[in-house]
Amino acid sequence: MTREEFLERLGDLLACLPAEQIEESKAFYAEAIADRMEDGMSEEEAVAAIGSPGAVAEAILNDLPAVPRVIAKTRRRSNVLLWILAIVGSPLWFVLALAFAAVAFTVYLCIWILALCVWIIAAALGASGIVALALATCGIAIGNVPYVLAMAGAGLGLMGGTLFVGAGAWAVTKQIARLSALWVNKALSPFSKHRGDGETGRPNGRAGRLPVNPSVDGGGDAERTAGGEHFSAAATAALN
């Protein structure tokens, strides 16, 4: 099979995906084949090393997040079936989607309320410190020295505590910002794929790797940069 035939067949099999995604996938595999040809393989060998278009298309579809995958696979069977299922199932999926959105938003809100609570504690300590210092000035006015000392001590101690709690609140806020970003990614994972780690423009955000091999998917940076040999091995392993 030539490269053009491979890409044409792949495009046909991925017709259920948006045109932009099809072009992205075709460009990626065209480049992968070209890389192999540059390494000395013939066109047929390079195409064979990638695998059959059917297996590659299946791998690309399986690599999609849950919701787009179901939509794409249903659309591949029939566009009419997709619309029928969407309309008939709307009382169910709409309510489920609404509940999911409500839960996701509530968890997100709770995460930030946790950070707000720490800041409220810091603000309350600071306000108490200011009031204690104001009371110390009242003590000066009436000439009650022990009260002045006690209130000034309480005020300064509370201000010091405010600074410590403020530092803690800042650290907690940073962690919570990270946690909330993770939560947003997790909540959106059934609908879209995070593209942050896709250095080489691999379809669906995977840098230079085939989507179907779990051992490759779980790999680290060394695997990501291992080059054409690794890709070829991954492709062979994935399609066997």
């Binding site: 009650n144 022990p146 009260y147 000392l149 209130m151 001590g153 101690g157 010091g160 600074l163 530092a167």
Partner: protein, 89 residues
């Protein structure tokens, strides 16, 4: 840890330590009377107590005289206006 952080925590620790020392000194100066940490300002009954010491005239005390100047706020509902008189020919 950066210098800014070090300074920040030094100031916080210093304030906390100084506060504890002053509070202990005040407590000791009062004869270990826990009432030294108490404050009571009740302008309705005109009773003001700072650390166990009653204050008779709050006018000279900063902040408290501001509260006194506010006076008492009447939260009672306003009286309803009287009903209009019927017109009789």
């Amino acid at each position: 840890m950066t210098n800014v952080k070090k300074t920040y925590f030094s100031v916080a620790g210093g304030l906390l330590a100084l506060g504890i020392i002053l509070a202990v000194l005040g407590f000791a100066a009062s004869g270990f009377n826990p009432a030294v940490f108490q404050t009571q300002i009740d302008l309705r009954s005109n009773s003001i107590n700072f650390g166990g010491v009653e204050v008779d005239d709050p006018s000279g005390i900063p902040f408290v005289n501001l509260l006194e100047n506010l006076g008492e706020i009447d939260l009672a509902a306003p009286e309803a206006p009287s009903a209009p008189r019927a017109y009789v020919k």
